[in-house]
Amino acid sequence: MANDLFNSFMTGPDEKGRFGDFGGRFVSETLMPLILSLEEEYEKAKTDEDFWAEMNDLWTHYVGRPSPLYYANRLTEHLGGAKIYLKRDELNHTGAHKINNVLGQIILARRMGKTRIIAETGAGQHGVATATVCAKFGLKCVVYMGAHDVERQAPNVFRMRLLGAEVIAVTSGRGTLKDAMNDALRDWVTNVHDTFYCIGTVAGPHPYPAMVRDFQSIIGKEVREQLQEQEGEGRLPDTLIAAIGGGSNAMGLFFPFLDDPSVNIIGVEAGGKGVNAKMEHCASLTGGRPGVLHGNRTYLLQDDDGQILEGFSISAGLDYPGIGPEHSWLHEIGRAQYVAITDKEALEAFQLSCALEGIIPALEPSHALAHVMKIAPTLPADHIIVMNMCGRGDKDIFTVAKHLGVEINTGG
């Protein structure tokens, strides 16, 4: 890209909610006034010290931030190349990065006088985080979850119900995460007066992609400080790696480094059984093309007629046929690189993390770790990789056991 265009990669989106050609506000008229008022409220909150004071207080005392930046010495030694750091967002309350964003949106919802919160969830991590914060604030919470996911993520469904949320098993369409999002939007359009839609990733109509990114950016901001504490003043990471479904943990890690040209940025999509013609994957950037869904223009898995296809991945959290619009933009301008990792590679990484570091990762960051395993050996010892360990793997042990051919007796 030309140097004279290099003002900043951090100024987006524009007033129309666009990152280049991506993003926007592709919603029905009924919702349009709602997202405009959300945007207005968010713009106010962004520069309101009270808002951030409340966020910081809860991040510290409720979530447990900052999460550690951990030098993974045995992984580093084993791979024999670059120095590997893990950003430990799996240690957050509720076990993933999702709560960073949920707190922000729920505080906003309270400021807007909304009393009912709805959310969509795939693996259940965003649903659990939303149910958690709603319980803490005494808000009514309704979570839409694909019927298939309700079945395969039973522990998270029970968690949400314990936390007082109503979990609705979505059977419309094919009963997957995208259908859960459709049904959440249908709920929102029906209950506009008291309801706030808490979206779990950097997608949806403007201002959601920017707002969720801003809330998740705490990840990258902390990394910036923590790495200097450990590696000396001014030291930046050389490579950032994060897994991408919708892309919120990745945006949170990447965003504060977009204007540091020396920082190499890599997003890892779910390659499923391989990015092939049979579409047995969820790699929207690697295997999809631009389209419009769920309020934004972005890369989507779709057929020749513009009908949306289902994704396929071992990880329910990456099982979405789209990706946040800012990632589509970063992909097109070349500021970030996007790769795909297969189920098999992710499973190997999952086991390596358990064996060498004593960390049971979620299947989502296992994809990121699999890419670390690929590139770390090719890099010199003074090259620093920071990978976002965005969730813990407790929820995934049944899936992993099944794939490893191990039977777990869950009966009492």
Partner: protein, 263 residues
């Protein structure tokens, strides 16, 4: 002047209300759907809304969602939907056809190519649910330039401040969505709708047609009486979903049309 404009001029001259019927193109299959489509004008339908199936119809209730799924499973595409309009036009060059759907299949085809093809197929107007005025440059403005009407939805959440923006690039007619919700939901009361229609008509000369939640001839009559006409969709699609023969579906439509025209 499009067929839509001509139709309203004619209705106006006769002092009649417009009855608009929605069917999903290709539901339950291409041939049956085309038969229904061809029979609609004879059943008293003034304007046809032809649904373009999409996998993710986020503003629609279960009835229209399932209709779209049936159509897609039967092999319906955007091209076949245009083909249906072309077939229809061979025997009817008066009844306006409004294509109603979501943006992605159109965007995927390419806006310019789509507009040329839609015009050639005899489509008169577009209702694209996920294109609010904020995204007018995508399709609305190019469509008007291509000689197609772009019909906008106004809703109970469209307040007075926002209304001029919604009306600005609207043509053909204004579709007032009588409730906050999805298609096939509970009906609005004529008493609640009347002031809303008046509010819109104070700001535009375009006809105002009311839809969502109208299922019976009586409801069609009472809603049409406080507007320039009404739309029925899910109730008709339910008849098709029940596997009724085309003649029975059309008889049901005629009942609704007669209701709307009684006013």
């Amino acid at each position: 002047m499009t067929r839509i404009d001509a139709k309203f001029a004619a209705l106006n001259a006769e002092g009649r209300k417009a009855f608009v019927a929605y069917v999903m193109a290709g539901d339950p299959d291409y041939a049956t759907s085309l038969d229904v489509l061809k029979g609609l004008p004879g059943a008293g339908v003034d304007i046809i809304e032809m649904g373009l199936p999409f996998t993710d119809p986020m503003a629609d209730g279960p009835t229209i969602q399932l209709a779209g799924q049936r159509a897609l499973e039967a092999g319906q595409t955007l091209q076949k939907t245009l083909d249906m309009a072309t077939e229809f036009r061979k025997t009817d060059n008066i009844t306006p056809i409004v294509m109603m759907g979501y943006y992605n299949p159109i965007y995927n085809r390419g806006v310019e190519k789509f507009l040329v093809d839609a015009k050639a197929a005899g489509i008169d107007g577009l209702i694209v649910v996920d294109l609010p005025p904020e995204e007018d440059e995508e399709l609305c403005i190019p469509a008007q330039k291509a000689g197609l009407n772009f019909i906008r939805l106004a809703t109970p959440t469209t307040d007075d401040k926002r209304l001029p923006k919604v009306l600005q690039n609207t043509s053909g007619f204004v579709y007032y969505v009588s409730i906050t919700g999805i298609t096939g939901s509970a009906a609005a009361e004529a008493g609640d709708v009347a002031p809303e229609v008046a509010r819109i008509k104070a700001k535009t000369d375009l006809p105002v047609i009311v839809g969502f939640g109208i299922r019976t001839p009586d409801a069609a009559q009472s809603i049409a009486s406080v507007a320039d006409g009404c739309v029925v969709g899910s109730a008709i699609v339910d008849e098709i979903a029940a596997g009724k023969p085309v003649a029975e579906v059309l008889a049901f439509v005629k009942g609704l049309a007669d209701g709307a025209h009684r006013t």
